[in-house]
């Protein structure tokens, strides 16, 4: 019998102006990263409600990463600063719940950093894969 290879499920929230464009650039330059990463476009990283992250974990995501513009470069001036603070709080709470720190990340990727985007995703996916399935927060009732 063939054992199905474990593939992590990763949700990436990317801000429209920097990171989503950085992801596009990674595509333009044909820089590979795992298909496990699925990107959701948001106008700004600060649009990401901590609830969305929890929702993803609840529904079975193994890792969630937020990408925004570099500090000081936010298209909306200050959005990424809010992201940084909000996620610091959320992550410390997840820490308290024994959710491994490597399952979440905030990363700054500019529109010019296609290579960084791909490298970040490769690294993140590898770390998440090493942790294995996220079972602590997954709500089995959501599984069909």
């Amino acid at each position: 019998m063939q054992v199905k290879e474990y593939k992590p499920l990763i949700v990436a929230f990317c801000c429209n102006w920097c990171s989503y464009a950085g992801a596009d650039l990674a595509g333009n330059n044909r820089l590979n990263y795992p298909a496990d990463v699925k990107i959701i476009r948001v106008p700004c990283s600060c649009r990401v409600n901590p609830m969305f992250v929890l929702r993803a974990f609840q529904r079975g995501a193994d890792g969630v990463i937020l990408c925004g513009c570099h500090p000081g470069d936010c298209h909306y001036t200050s959005g990424n600063y809010y992201t940084r603070r909000r996620m610091a709080l959320l992550f410390s709470m997840l820490d308290y719940l024994c959710i491994e720190r490597e399952r979440t990340r905030v990363e700054w990727v500019s529109a010019a950093e296609g290579a960084k985007f791909a490298a970040t995703m490769n690294d993140f996916a590898e770390k998440v894969a090493a942790l294995g399935e996220n079972k602590r927060l997954e709500d089995l009732r959501c599984k069909k």
Partner: protein
Amino acid sequence: MQRIGVFVCWCGSNIAGTVDVVAVAEALKKEPGVVFSANYQYMCSQAGQDLIKNAIKEHNLTGIVVCSCSPRMHEATFRKTAAAAGLNPYMVEIANIREQCSWVHKEMPIGTEKAIILGKAAVAKVNLNTPLVPGESPVTKRALVIGGGIAGIQTALDIADAGFEVDIVEKKPTIGGKMAQLDKTFPTLDCAACILTPKMVDVAQNEKIRIFSYSEVTDVKGFVGNFDVTIKKKARYVKEELCTGCGACTEKCPMKKVPNDFNLNMDTKRAIYIPFAQAVPKVATIDPDYCNMLKNGKCGVCSKVCAAGAIDYTQKDEFIEEKYGAIVVATGFNPISMDKFDEFAYNQSKDVITSLEFERLTNAAGPTAGKLLRPSDHKHPEKIVFVQCVGSRCDACNEKGKEYCSKICCMYTAKHAMLTRDKYPDTEVYVFYIDVRTPGKNFDEFYRRAVEEYGVHYIKGMVGKVVPEGDKLIVQASDLLDNKQLKIEADLVVLAAAIEPDKSARPLATLLTASMDTNDFFTEAHPKLRPVESPTAGVFLSGACQGPKDIPETVAQAGAAASKVIGLLAKDKLTGNPCVAHSNEMMCNGCSSCERVCPYGAITYEDKEFRMPDRTTLMRRIAVVNPAVCQGCGCCTVACPSGAMDLKGFASEQIIAEVDAICK
């Protein structure tokens, strides 16, 4: 329930090469709400768009999902298509299965699986989309150009030519920029001043153009069509409106030892100065770091000799607030510092100079009145070595230089070498190059002329060390084609220093919320299709602030930026972005959390009367979003504790639906 149509694009083989488009279309057909699905070779083509339009009409579609390239590429295209078929354009969602799927994954099953999931997420989102109508805002019919070099000058002239008002803000006392410092221009060898100064005069005489020289932009608020800009006019201690530019003060000022930055500090000027004869505006400026009157109240000579009574030692910095509809960045470039490249002995010998300094040495208005003389002993150099690529094309982890090619050095070095040989046939000229890059009209011909007609020695190799010894410079270099190490006793060494964006660009980008790359060049909205627009609406790019450029390219880009500005200013009203925040007044409790995080001040509060179920009325404070000011970042939606604030187009419900679809 929505009636959704799914359109899967092959993008030739770009998508179809790694994604089974038919399987994607089939899989998505089974999603809730989907009533139609199709695939086509090029969905963005006329035929592809017709396919979408017909399907909308035929199947009464209320929403569509296009699985194609990045929404940054063609979202606007497909929205227009939808609108043409009578569908609200905001009922369109794009699943990015090219840049974020087929181009980054190599295997067909993996790519197909991911494309289906991305499609499902888009379908889930469209199911919750609602038609949106953008608001409108007026356009201030005036443009601001930041930087008064050839890029800024050309942009301003072109905008003014179309009948719009333009202000130029220039941080130096005169416009003209780097081009004013040049001697001749390649490949035609026109005299730079002869083609630039008439343009500067045109600017000065144009009724539509105002020049704020010796000024800086200190604050920018607002958005496309409605920028509020604060300009600091630095105190020049001379009343601009009275000064006639006669220059009497600049001859009588006793403070003679002021480094002359216009000549790159190769000679001196007075503490009150006019940078050069053709300066615009031709107004004197006092350098407060050197003026004795300003420093210790002793002197006042300029005031005594000024017949116009223009000197004002009490002048203060002045702040001007002005409204603009569009902003053009034209902040230009500078050669990098040579401090980290002292193997070339720039800091050890006066006779090692940069190419820009060489321009001043050969310029008739320069420190040597155009005679090519060595800075150290004012002797005529008999052997000159030019070194190319100093600080350009360096490795990313090299802490000294820049990664990019500075683009203009090959040509100006050929020009310098050729002009030297032309004027001084007895002078031997060597150029050390790694590659000679001349992809421009008549550029390679120009370089070949330098070699073939003017006998410039081009040597493939790099200089490794320059040793000042006596009055000579020992240039140790490699000749790669001859496999030799050379030692040339030169009299003058000219370094083609890499160019970098002006230092003022970074803080300006922050003010404008315009993005920059890692080298501090402004990024364009699209590298190919929108090369003169910044991703920030209403901010345009002109000249070397966007990347290294020569004069013809700069002028071309300046004109292109101007035409974009004209296109914007010609509109009376701008349709805004309908994806703005809005507050559900039934849920809002007026706590002010959203107002505090809004970077635009778009949220205000009002007291509203509510009718209660028991027919009493209640006055409640609720948040109101001004849709013309809101830029749609969504920060407030997360801050809102009661869940009243949401973002149209990116509603919490929609994003959660996407999350669910991906995690299914």
